[in-house]
Symmetry: C2
Subunit: 121 residues, 2 copies
Amino acid sequence: MLYSPVDLSQKQALVFEQWTPKIVAQMNDTHFKVVKIQGAFVWHSHPETDEAFLVLDGAMRIAFRDGHVELRAGQMFVVPRGVEHKPYAEHECALLLVEPAGTVNTGDAAAGPTAPSDAWI
Amino acid sequence: MLYSPVDLSQKQALVFEQWTPKIVAQMNDTHFKVVKIQGAFVWHSHPETDEAFLVLDGAMRIAFRDGHVELRAGQMFVVPRGVEHKPYAEHECALLLVEPAGTVNTGDAAAGPTAPSDAWI
């Protein structure tokens, strides 16, 4: 039997809406999600979990209250649990998020563009 | 403060020995490990955990008892817990493994080139 890989470029091509992470793979209780972002997101944190960002295409910045990190394709960063952050991308940027199943994109933010946390592509 | 990203190309350049995964990032209890492989590994399984493979450079095959999957850069595959598998690469291939901290590369194999599971670069 020939098994099929998860092709991240193909998955990116299926994501049309920005800021709406889509699950592409699962390892135990950890989800791998492709998301496209552009512009600035809301300040938020995830009190219960770290969150890994891996840039697939383009470049982005994650702002923290005490600084920031710049990420481009092939670079990753893990935001520790409880740390307030605000993702930003000048141009559209495609990411792979790695985080526990059920993690909500807006975390503890009181308002913001909350997306479903259980959508697969 | 300017935080530093984890640059996967830079990390690859620091890996000189094949089949020896090196941790480059941690998300909760999950490790991200860069490993270079070439040739055939031993048949083994991980009875306690799934294991995610993401190809960074090159191409590889994972053989199963009932088939196989071919992976090239930008493609990933999650081997389910307990499933016997045998990684193979004709030419050197660089991978990102995503798996629980403490996962041993040779799993339940009685013999084989077991590498430390706690080495960071």
